[in-house]
């Protein structure tokens, strides 16, 4: 897994709430047996009209926006457990998702793929979205070591599990850790 320490980037605002993983990556694209190519399909049915033409209104298609930070509405990533959603967002180039609330499974999937979920207050989120809509070239800094997000509307801190933080800072993943605990797991199994 790629390391994450600090990111300075412009950001794309996506105000919708309850963005479920079916929107992030529709089920018809889940037929692949590897992790490649999902980035091209991210938000497919929002990025394109039914007739296949591009939806220029959608923030990801709007040329005024760019960057590897997605700032999205409350309860991001709800619904299906498909990790393909995290692969699609990473594949598209996102490294951070900012929201006021993340669904559990998505949050775990994101962290397991080096995609940092930054949870801020509803108030901060609303202000940030409006600010980005009005100032699309404004940059946002996400500092994992300090657990802070800095933008022109002000700074905020965010929570992250200490273990997960270490994993991200060093690029470790859970498999490495669990394998290192093998003896203990075997001993537990024997008594179970």
């Amino acid at each position: 897994m790629e390391k994450f320490t600090l990111l300075k980037s412009t950001a794309i605002p996506l105000a919708s709430e309850n963005i479920d993983t079916d929107q992030i990556i529709p089920a018809r694209f889940l037929k692949a047996t590897d992790k490649l190519g999902f980035g091209e399909q991210v938000f497919k049915d929002w990025r394109f009209h039914k007739d296949g033409t591009i939806n220029k209104e959608f923030p990801l298609n709007n040329s005024k926006y760019s960057g590897s930070i997605l700032v999205a509405g409350d309860n991001f990533g709800c619904g299906s457990s498909r990790e393909h959603a995290a692969w699609a967002l990473v594949g598209y180039g996102f490294k951070v998702i900012v929201s006021s609330f993340f669904a559990d499974i998505f949050k775990g999937n994101a962290l397991n793929n080096g995609l940092l979920p930054v949870q801020v207050t509803e108030d901060y989120l609303k202000k940030l979205i409006v600010h980005l809509e009005e100032n699309p070239t404004s940059e946002v800094i996400v500092n994992l070591e300090e657990q802070t997000i800095e933008s022109e509307i002000g700074n905020a801190s965010f929570e992250i599990d200490a273990y997960k933080k270490t994993c991200l800072l060093n690029g470790y993943d859970d498999i490495d850790y669990l394998i290192s605990k093998k003896q203990q797991i075997n001993a537990f199994e024997a008594t179970f």
Binding site: D22, A27, S81, A162, D174
Partner: protein, 463 residues
């Protein structure tokens, strides 16, 4: 210390606690399917790690399988490849697979309980968010991502923070025509789609105590739709009776010993929850959704509420519904009875009981998709198939089908579908499809009438 059902099962499975970090939780049973497992197999292979406990894994093909002509080769090359990969991976790693055509094949959350694989007090995971279904047995069961599938493959464990605990109490008597699906749709509409995020939810009270295992599974299945990783119901005599005699259930004295242990799992009197809700059963009515998340539900007799939020309005625009309007008499051309939420024998009994002696509306395309081969067999044996066919319905073969529309079972753009599945997200049942979630009874009535009707007005007193 007084413990909850969730605490008892969780604590018994903790291998270790990392300081200021997650816990290592041991997993008893790992269910896998074709869509969320191939990348996990690949990950282990890449790292040269063997599968720790292939004997604790059960595989089925369900998400991406056709529901007609299952004996023929699958036409779509990608889908065929995905199923072939599953078969190869299972063979190579000595994993039990109930593939297409196998007598035990079906939707992962239908087959594990009916085979007796799901048992109280267990920890179970699957790369599917509706794994919460198995909580109906007093099991800690939850959906995981593919990275976690790989973690369980590698170690039979997961690194997790212990979730918080909530309880939903529903006491009283359910009204005529109110099914378990209505109970859970009501709970989600009342509490909201993220009310359970970070929690495991126990359902308690006499409504659940009096519910069948099929009904309990429907309720626990949709826990994830309020954000809860899992739902649980304390095991009781109904649970033990259901498990007894099932293929993989303990037998003889072994079964009796297990039952004695399972009886100790119920939440201790006075045990504390982080939050608790109480609902009066008599307030629940047949439910229906009008929007694009499962929390956007109303009683079938109610009108769409007034709310001035952009997400709410976007949702109504997608559905082509208006604030203040009733859904009664809305013409519908599609009905889907199936999915891990409502594809068990009881669901088809309810539908057949309503349909008996009536005729399907001509404008309606109805997909009746049993959850498993065993359910399909039982439908025939109980004579329900004959009832459906006499009314102009045809039964399809088992699978997830139009719940997520990965296979060819897609609802056309712009069409309404009254569906017994679990998600009404935009495009869930096909690009542009408009899903209306409901119980098998409401869905059956819509298939007969060709429009949404208030079932409470037409029910025989027996139902």
């Amino acid at each position: 210390m007084r413990k909850t059902l969730f605490d008892k099962v969780w604590d018994a499975h903790v291998v270790d606690v990392i300081e200021n970090g997650p816990q290592i939780l041991y997993i008893d049973t790992h269910l896998i399917h074709e869509v969320t497992s191939p990348q996990a197999f690949e990950e282990l292979e890449k790292r040269g790690i063997p599968i720790a406990r292939p004997d604790k894994i059960v595989a089925t093909a369900d998400h991406n399988t056709p529901t007609i002509n299952q004996h023929l080769p699958i036409k779509d090359a990608l889908s065929r490849n995905q199923l072939e990969k599953l078969t190869k991976n299972c063979l190579k790693n000595n994993i039990s697979l109930y593939g297409l055509g196998h007598e035990n094949n079906g939707i992962v959350h239908v087959i594990a309980p009916e085979l007796g694989i799901t048992q109280p007090g267990m920890t179970m995971v699957c790369g599917d968010s509706h794994t919460s279904t198995h909580g109906a047995f007093g099991t800690i069961a939850f959906g995981i991502g593919t990275s976690q599938v790989a973690q369980v493959f590698a170690s039979q464990c997961l690194l997790l923070e212990k979730p918080k605990k909530m309880r939903v109490l529903v006491n009283g008597e359910l009204k005529k025509g109110v099914l378990p699906k209505d109970v859970i749709l009501y709970i989600i509409a009342k509490l909201g789609t993220n009310s359970g995020t970070g929690y495991f939810c126990e359902y308690a009270g006499d409504v659940f105590e009096n519910m069948s295992m099929e009904g309990r599974m429907t309720v626990c299945n949709m826990s994830i739709e309020m954000g809860a990783r899992g739902g649980m119901i304390a095991p009781d005599q109904t649970t033990f009776n259901y498990i007894k005699g099932k293929e993989f259930a303990p037998k003889g004295t072994d079964f009796d010993e297990k039952v004695a242990k399972w009886k100790t799992l119920a939440t201790d009197v006075g045990a504390e929850f982080d939050k608790e809700y109480e609902i009066d059963a008599s307030d629940i009515e047949p439910m229906i959704t009008f929007g694009t998340n499962p929390g956007m539900g109303i009683k079938i007799s109610e009108k769409i509420p007034y709310k001035n939020e952009s997400s709410f309005e976007k949702s109504l625009t997608y559905m082509d519904f208006e604030k203040g309007k009733s859904l009664i008499d809305t013409p519908i051309n599609y009905v889907f009875i199936g999915s891990c939420t409502n594809s068990r024998i009881e669901d088809f009994r309810v539908a057949a009981n309503y349909i008996k002696g009536k005729q399907k509306a001509e404008n309606v395309t109805a997909w009746l998709v049993p959850g498993s081969q065993r359910v399909a067999k039982q439908i025939t044996e109980e004579g329900l198939k004959a009832t459906f066919e006499a009314a102009g319905f045809t039964l399809r073969q088992p699978g997830c089908s139009a719940c997520l529309a990965m296979n060819d079972d897609k609802i056309p753009s712009g069409e309404y579908c009254v569906s017994t599945s679990n998600r009404n997200f935009e495009g869930r049942q096909g690009q542009g499809a408009r899903t209306i979630l409901a119980s098998p009874l409401v869905a059956a009535a819509a298939a007969i009438e060709g429009k949404i009707i208030d079932v409470t007005k037409v029910l025989e007193p027996v139902l």
